[in-house]
């Protein structure tokens, strides 16, 4: 009880307060408020175009916001310069298209930012990188360039690259959507063990089984707004809104079709 009370008083790692975002006249985030606790795994689901990626990208300011506030560990997100870079270095990001540095080896991909941003010596950075690559199961690929790896291996390398900065939280924007079905699981496995290790994670995904298993909280977005949020068991069993029911039903149909 006592410990629960304490964690409740902790400052959230990520906090959004009535965030709005426009692309021109297009209102893509509508009064979005969200707070992510230390060690929490938040999974964002919702139909295409509902603003999941945009939400994710505003959290490390790859996308600016039109109004509202974003706090990282209680501090407002800086607008630019060294301070912004410093905050970004504490929030990892894993992209749908991996975005590994194509001209460098996997090892260099993982060591580049620690050396450049944290000024860690090459030898130490490489030692750490190899440890992380082992952790995601691709230690033997360290000397190859990204193009020589399968999609699943590239995405695991990208996760290792994010981990190398010892981030406070990691954002995942559809990390398995660009992967062939047989590679999806290897990436989800890495993410599951990350979640178990206590990493704070915000994950946009269409993998419903995975969401149900790892999420502490599900966020359902529709048309730029958070329509529903709750514990996974509750959400998947009894979605409160009609829109969420439709969305989940479309997934069940898809699954049935693929099972046929």
């Amino acid at each position: 009880m006592n410990s629960e009370h304490k964690s409740g008083a902790e400052t959230p790692v990520i906090e959004l307060r009535t965030v709005n975002k426009y692309f021109g006249t297009h209102h893509v985030l509508k009064d979005v408020s969200l707070s992510v606790r230390q060690g929490e795994v938040v999974v964002i689901i919702g139909p295409s175009g509902s603003g999941k990626s945009t939400l994710c990208r505003t959290i490390n300011r790859l996308e600016t916001i039109s109004s509202g506030e974003i706090l990282i560990e209680g501090q407002p997100m800086p607008a630019e310069g060294k301070e912004l870079a410093q905050v970004r270095s504490r929030i990892g990001m894993v992209f749908q298209s991996f975005n590994l540095f194509l001209h460098r080896t996997i090892l260099d991909n993982v060591t580049m930012a620690p050396m450049d941003v944290l000024h860690i010596k090459r030898k130490d950075a490489e030692e750490e990188a190899l440890k992380l690559l082992r952790q995601v199961g691709i230690e033997d690929q360290a000397r190859k360039v990204p193009a020589q790896l399968s999609g699943g291996q590239q995405q695991r390398a990208a996760i290792a690259r994010a981990l190398a900065m010892h981030p406070k939280a990691i954002l995942f924007d559809e990390p398995t959507s660009a992967l062939d079905p047989e590679m999806i699981q290897e990436v989800l496995d890495v993410m599951t063990s990350l979640a178990k290790s206590g990493m704070t994670m915000v994950i946009v995904t269409h993998e419903m089984n995975f969401a149900r298993n790892v999420a502490d909280r599900i966020i359902f977005m529709n048309d730029g707004a958070i329509l529903e949020e709750g514990a996974p068991d509750e959400f998947f069993a009894h979605p409160k809104t009609e829109r969420a029911r439709e969305f989940l039903a479309s997934f069940r149909n898809e699954q049935k079709e693929s099972e046929l």
Partner: protein, 265 residues
């Protein structure tokens, strides 16, 4: 080996079948006929007006002739390397200006790029040969050829670099930024190295143009290959042989540049 697709032709066409092979042989012969005919006619003509007489060729047996050509070659290489280096540095800076966040810098750079691309090299040569000295500025002859040649190349170099930078996927920048890297570091460690690789072929074409532009050196009496060739011609009254040999040397230089580029990649 055969299945490896590493030539652009392999992407453009199927593996030729028997019919296609016969057609390729046919067109090869058809295209060789006029070339052979032209060569034959040329030889006959030269024979007739005595261009092939030993007196027009024998000086190529002399060591001094080749030393003189060699000196010209060195002059050409010196001018081309200097011009190339200047063009790369200024071209790079212009590209940085062209993509800078300052609107004024962007406009100035764009104007300079358009200007240097639009004006013929020879006008820049005349400018450095005739106008600049009147300001009292005395440039060494190497710079009097290298600077104008470089200036006429910087606009293209800048645009080539910029096209390379634009070709690097946006995700590369986003990944680097999300790791906390600063803009400048993102550019130099992630974007530009990739951009450079993309544009190596275009840069090679531009270097070849720079080499060819250095032939304007004769205008200012800078001792490059072309200038020395002119001296040989007037000494021995042998235009055809000298131009022939010199052309072959230029072709060889550019061939070597291309080979070098291939080796680098």
């Amino acid at each position: 080996m055969k299945n490896e697709k590493n030539n652009i032709r392999d992407f453009l066409y199927d593996e030729p079948g028997p019919k296609a092979k016969r057609r390729i042989i046919f067109w090869t012969i058809v295209s060789l006929v006029p070339i052979a005919f032209l060569l034959y006619r040329m030889t006959v003509r030269f024979q007739e007006n005595g261009q092939l007489a030993p007196q027009y060729w024998s000086f190529f047996l002399k060591y001094t002739t080749w030393r003189f050509i060699g000196q010209g070659l060195l002059g050409t290489l010196e001018a081309a390397l200097t011009a190339g280096a200047i063009a790369f540095v200024i071209g790079f800076l212009l590209m940085r200006g062209r993509i800078s966040r300052s609107g004024i810098l962007r406009k100035i750079s764009a104007a300079l790029i358009e200007f240097t691309r639009g004006v013929p090299t020879l006008l820049f040569i005349y400018f450095f040969f005739l106008v600049v000295p009147q300001t009292g500025l005395k440039l060494p002859s190497l710079l009097r050829i290298a600077l104008p040649v470089a200036i006429s190349a910087v606009g293209v170099v800048a645009e080539v670099f910029r096209s390379g930078v634009n070709a690097v996927p946006k995700g590369q920048t986003e990944a680097a930024l999300s790791l906390g890297m600063r803009n400048r570091h993102v550019f130099y460690k992630v974007i530009f190295p990739q951009a450079f690789r993309y544009v190596i072929p275009s840069l090679i074409s531009e270097i070849v143009i720079v080499v060819k532009d250095t032939t304007f050196a004769y205008v200012i009496n800078f001792p490059d290959l072309m200038q020395n060739a002119k001296v040989l011609i007037s000494n021995y009254d042998a235009m055809l042989p000298v131009y022939l040999i010199v052309s072959v040397i230029y072709i060889l230089i550019n061939f070597l540049i291309n080979q070098l580029a291939r080796a680098v990649r």
